[in-house]
């Protein structure tokens, strides 16, 4: 039970209201209270956690930009890697190879992913097949990437299904496509669901068929989220190594078509990083530089695309 304050009490900030009013000083911030001390400690810890979380990015980027960036030259981007023990050389074939394998993956994953997404968002009515596809998409997204490599090895490489060729750019592209498909399906599905129902009804109302409605009205309306998902999927695939090491393999030569083994930057980094030669290790850093720049650029492009919709 406390007494009410008199209005004239010196130092009091609160005019006395009633017998149940505030105690003197109870509304001033007192840092020595244990709860306020804990507050400061925990805020400091959260700040520390954030610093630790951001630090690796800064350090990795700094090393890749400085170590890799200082090596970049025209000849490095256009020449073949040297034989073990020799100096010089470049990563030209690996750059072309990464672009080629990623393009193959995109050409497979985009139609499949967008088509599957269209089915989920536009045609399915929440039946068991649709929920099976959704569940399957989630499971497929969680399958470790190395297992995708094992799958494509068993399906394509060991069976020599393509003209008797075993390791090939095609096999690598298919393995990456398996990784991309869940991302593309999910973003297409979610993007299409955001399109207002009125647009669909309007199109159907003026006599468009379902196919025309989807291809001319809803898909263009959902362009930005779908494109964002595709770009993110491509960026992730371009950096993947595990599915490629025993599908696309590696090659010290320029690409010889899509049915032969091919060099990619990610596999080059993996192979060269564990070699005892300085020239190869330098090339690994240079390839990291090119790869990281490409992937960061793709990520920023994706952010720009997703903000396009909000504007």
């Amino acid at each position: 039970m406390h007494t009410s304050l008199s209005p004239q009490a010196p130092g009091s900030r609160i005019p006395a209201a009633s017998a149940g009013g505030f105690q003197r000083g109870s509304l001033t911030f007192r840092p020595q209270l244990s709860r306020n001390r804990w507050n400061a400690v925990l805020t400091g810890l959260a700040g520390l956690a954030t610093t630790i979380a951001v630090l690796p990015l800064v350090l990795v980027l700094a090393y890749v930009l400085i170590k890799g960036g200082s090596l970049i030259s025209f000849s490095l981007l256009t020449q073949l890697p040297p034989a073990p023990g020799l100096e010089g050389g470049g990563i030209g074939n690996a750059i072309v190879g990464t672009l080629l394998v990623t393009a193959i993956a995109a050409l497979i994953a985009i139609p499949v992913g967008v088509g599957g997404g269209i089915y989920l968002a536009e045609y399915s009515s929440g039946g068991s097949f649709a929920s099976f596809v959704r569940f399957g998409t989630n499971v497929l997204a969680g399958v470790p990437s190395i297992i995708c490599g094992v799958f494509v090895y068993g399906l394509i490489v060991s069976t020599r299904i393509f003209f008797g060729q075993s390791y090939s750019a095609m096999a690598g592209g298919i393995a990456l496509a398996v990784l991309m498909i869940p991302t593309v399906i999910k973003t297409t599905d979610e993007g299409l669901k955001l399109v207002p129902q009125e647009l669909r009804l309007g199109a159907l109302g003026v006599g468009a068929s379902k196919m025309v409605t989807i291809t001319h009205i809803t898909l263009p309306a959902a362009f930005s989220p779908i494109a964002t998902g595709i770009v993110l999927g491509i960026a992730r695939a371009a950096g993947e190594t595990a599915p490629l090491i025993f599908t696309a393999l590696f090659s010290p030569f320029w690409p010889e078509g899509v049915f032969n083994p091919i060099a990619t930057m990610s596999v080059l980094i993996y192979n060269f990083a564990i070699m005892p030669y300085q020239a190869q290790i330098s090339l690994a850093w240079a390839a990291s530089f090119v790869l990281v720049l490409m992937i960061l650029a793709a990520n920023l492009l994706a952010r720009w695309l997703s903000q396009l919709a909000r504007a």
Partner: protein, 318 residues
Amino acid sequence: MRLDSGPDLFTLRRRPVSDKLADRGFRWLTVALASLVGLVLLGILLTVMGGSRQAISAYGLAFLTTSNWDPVGDQYGALTAIYGTIVTSALSLVIAVPLGVGTAIFLTENIIPTKLRDILALMVELLAAIPSVVLGLWAIFVMEPFLRPFLSFLYTRLGWLPVFSTDPQGPGMAPAILILVVMILPIITAIARDSLLQVPPELRQAAYGIGTTRWGAILQVILPAAVSGIAGGVMLALGRAMGETMAVTMIIGNSNNFSWSLLAPGNTISSMLANQFGEADGNQVSALMYAALVLMLLTLLVNVLAQWVVRRLSLKYT
């Protein structure tokens, strides 16, 4: 012709058959593309199960509990790799969860200005985009040499503990755990941040309104409300950590000799696959497929658990 036919305006025009066929064909095309997901999953399962049949009948369940991996003597046991997979992913999770959730809180509560918050969140997001092979390269040449004195200190001071009982000679489980932390931190942070942002602002305002401190509100109101999303994110991160291949392969040392020590070189299922699958033949391929099957079942279990956890823990706000 009907007698009372009005002007052309009112006659119903029929769609041409070709249009109808195209419309129906498009529908079936999307159904076919959607079912490809199921086919690919089935294909993965059949490939891995078919490939491992030989090893399953040859080694049985002893494969999971023995650590003798001997391609010359054609004897295989995956205990070293299974132990490595579970220990590296579990310990990296133990380190990454408090860091990730702490970061997410720091980036959602009004501790620092919004602009700075957005920049830091973008940086954490970009960390997730760095390819794991680049992180592996960085781990080999920068992180591991930097860490070695600290790990040696652990060995000299705490070497009597089985987990620190070997002298660190370079690659090993401990650096692999730390690089896994770097890889799963952005996942945990991003998902925890999303869940925190989805907590209705009224809850926060009510907590502040009855006079709690910032951390009183966070610990007793906001975190409990967001726990389902965070738990789901943690499970997803665990799945990712178990399947993560490249950075781990490059830094773990790829030793098939079993050791309790975190400072010794080890192996995970995925690093074993990355290392040996390309050059394996005969029973070794089958044994590797068996290990791949174990990995697949583990990650599948974790992912299904993740979905279950989210459903079980989610609180509904209306």
